[in-house]
Amino acid sequence: MNKEGTTGKKPRLKSLGIEGTRYKTNFTKKFENRHKWEVPDDRKLITFLPGVILKVKVKKGQKVKKGDSMVILETMKMQNRITIHRDGVIKNIHVKEGQKVMKGELLMELN
């Protein structure tokens, strides 16, 4: 087991900046694996749960309004209506009916 700093060879220290000062210290696995923040791209419709696309309710080039249904996604044993989060025009559809999708998969893009 890794008892940091007590025995064994010394691990190389990392540098952590807090309020303008750099501290020499070690990182936890959790800290190293933390999700880096990315500005969400509001032109993209992305799944947050895996499942099966039962129905695609829009076509490429179609004008859509915030709240319109885009696809029916079967996930968590439910048929879920996936709605769009803003007005726009469908630029690209990346899924077909009957297709299995993973978490984080791009379903469609708006212009």
């Binding site: 700093g5 007590t6 807090i18 303008g20 000062t21 501290y23 800290f31 895996p50 978490k103």
Partner: protein
């Protein structure tokens, strides 16, 4: 000689129940590297101290051919015994009997011993090794879990509750350990999760092994659900026994005092903490240089390692230690370390254990993930726990105590009873660099050589504010002490605080930022 025959009959009946689920199931249990339920209890208790009850309990289930099945003891063993002479109530699920599944009578045995423990005001130990709800008993099995959870909550803060995970503990069953004070896990044996790998695969398409999802290491290191991690069941039992020596039997008593012992000579309090506040060291070395026999019993030593919690003794009396760990993440407070410290402070407060807080932190961990996972409400738990605690609270500021971190780590303002500071202490609103950059922004930017000016200003600021004397001038700390005086002063403070009595406004209960 009817009486002899009757005694023989009793012994025979016992013998049958002691076989649990039969030879085959017992062999399987051993092949899995697990001890048998009764052997576990024997290994944990003082020799010949265990008395078992409800040996002949039988289930009443009728559906799904259950009426034709005999389940010895209904898959759980309950009883009382002693550990180092301390009375304890215990239950141990027997995986060899219907996979240790929980049916109505199984749960009634558990709640019986729980009620007993609460009534007698003695610690409760639960050994979990169960496949989960006994599906054949349907909603009765759910009722059983609910009755257990309710009692866990009722007993919380009244008697110590210890959960030992020695097998699977899945689904709703995990909530009993989660409600108890300390959870013990063993490498390769403990498995805890709400939804198992199969469900996760079918519903989410994510593949993960049982070990990676809810093994001992996961809960000791990642989730923080476990407090003590052992490589074998025997090591786990030794940890439990050791814990029992540090805690009282119930919330109206104090932990048993031991013969005072000086720290071991190889642990020297001087020379551990580097003068440069940006350099790390292991704060556990400071604790070991202060406590009796240099014996520090750490809890959750693998999770949120930027804060250290655990028990030690000062002059023979149990003390709970909370210490920032500069070795990891510079000892910052963050979501996990706040949870860890706050819960431990509440534990100590509930069970009359004085708290010694060692402070050396630069502040809170910056980051989007921290803010978005609620470092505000988690960090608030530390303030809440310290403010609420009425046990003796003693603080030693070793080095940095900046900003909100200074306030949170049992400052005078949260009603610390004694606040000591080493001469190396820097008690300030923030680190010198940050403060100088804000206060002298204009001077720095307008200087001919801003870098040089900044360095000069930081140097001046450090000389003026990076010390314990500004805080001492306001009485926020009681004394500036030499590191060598620390143990002596702590022993004194603990003795002086022995009859501490404070009371707050009457209330049903507070609303801590859970």
């Amino acid at each position: 000689m009817a009486i002899k025959r009757k005694i023989k009959e009793l012994l025979k009946k016992r013998e049958i129940v002691f076989k649990g689920g039969g030879d085959k199931a017992r062999e399987k249990q051993v092949a899995m590297g697990k001890l048998l339920a009764r052997d576990r209890i024997r290994a944990l208790m003082d020799e010949d101290s265990f008395n078992e009850y409800d040996l002949f309990v039988e289930h009443e289930a009728r559906d799904f051919n259950m009426d034709k099945k005999t389940l010895h003891g209904d898959g759980v063993i309950i009883g009382t015994g002693t550990i180092f002479g301390a009375p304890v109530c215990i239950y141990a699920q027997d995986f060899t009997v219907a996979g240790g599944s929980l049916g109505l009578m199984h749960s009634r045995k558990i709640t019986k011993i729980m009620d007993h423990a609460l009534k007698m005001r003695v610690p409760l130990i639960g050994i979990n090794d169960s496949g989960g709800a006994r599906i054949q008993e349907g909603v009765n099995s759910l009722a059983g879990y609910g009755e257990i959870f309710f009692r866990n909550t009722l007993a919380s803060g009244v008697i110590p509750q210890i959960s030992v995970i020695l097998g699977p503990c899945a689904g709703g069953a995990v909530y009993s350990p989660a409600l108890t004070d300390f959870v013990f896990v063993v490498e390769k044996i403990s498995k805890m999760f709400i939804t198992g790998p199969e469900v996760i695969k079918t519903v989410l398409g994510e593949e993960i092994s049982m070990e990676e999802l809810g093994g001992a290491k996961v809960h000791a290191e990642i989730s923080g659900n476990a407090h003590f991690y052992a490589r074998s069941e025997i090591e786990c039992f030794d940890q439990i026994k050791k814990l029992i020596t540090f805690i009282p039997w119930n919330n109206s008593q104090k932990a048993k005092s031991f013969e005072p012992k000086e720290p071991k000579p190889e642990y020297k309090v001087e020379g551990i903490v580097p003068d440069d506040p940006t350099l790390p060291y292991d704060v556990r070395d400071v604790i070991r240089s202060i406590v009796d026999d240099s014996d520090f019993f750490e809890s959750q030593e693998l999770w949120a390692t930027n804060i250290i919690i655990g028990f030690g003794r000062l002059g023979g009396k149990t003390v709970g230690f909370v210490a920032n760990q500069p070795l990891v993440l510079a000892g910052v407070l963050d979501v996990d370390s706040s949870d860890k410290a706050a819960r431990f402070v509440r534990y100590c407060d509930a069970f009359n254990i004085p708290i010694v807080t060692l402070v050396d932190l630069p502040g809170y961990l910056p980051g989007v993930d921290q803010e978005h996972t609620g470092v505000i409400r988690h960090g608030a738990k530390v303030l809440y726990a310290y403010s609420e605690a009425t046990v003796p609270k003693i603080t030693v500021i070793l080095r940095k105590a900046y900003g909100g971190g200074y306030i949170a780590m049992n400052s005078r303002h949260l009603r610390a009873d004694f606040v000591f500071a080493w001469p190396t202490a820097e008690i300030a609103v923030m680190g010198p660099e940050g403060a100088a950059n804000i206060i002298f922004r204009k001077e720095i930017s307008e200087a001919e050589d801003p870098d040089k000016a900044r360095k000069q200003i930081v140097k001046e600021y450090k000389a003026k504010f990076a010390n314990p004397y500004v805080a001492a001038a306001r009485g926020y700390i009681d004394s500036v002490i030499e590191p060598l005086e620390t143990r002596k002063l702590l022993l004194h403070a603990i003795n002086v605080s022995d009859n501490k009595s404070v009371s707050g406004p009457k209330k049903k209960h507070g609303i801590p930022p859970f």
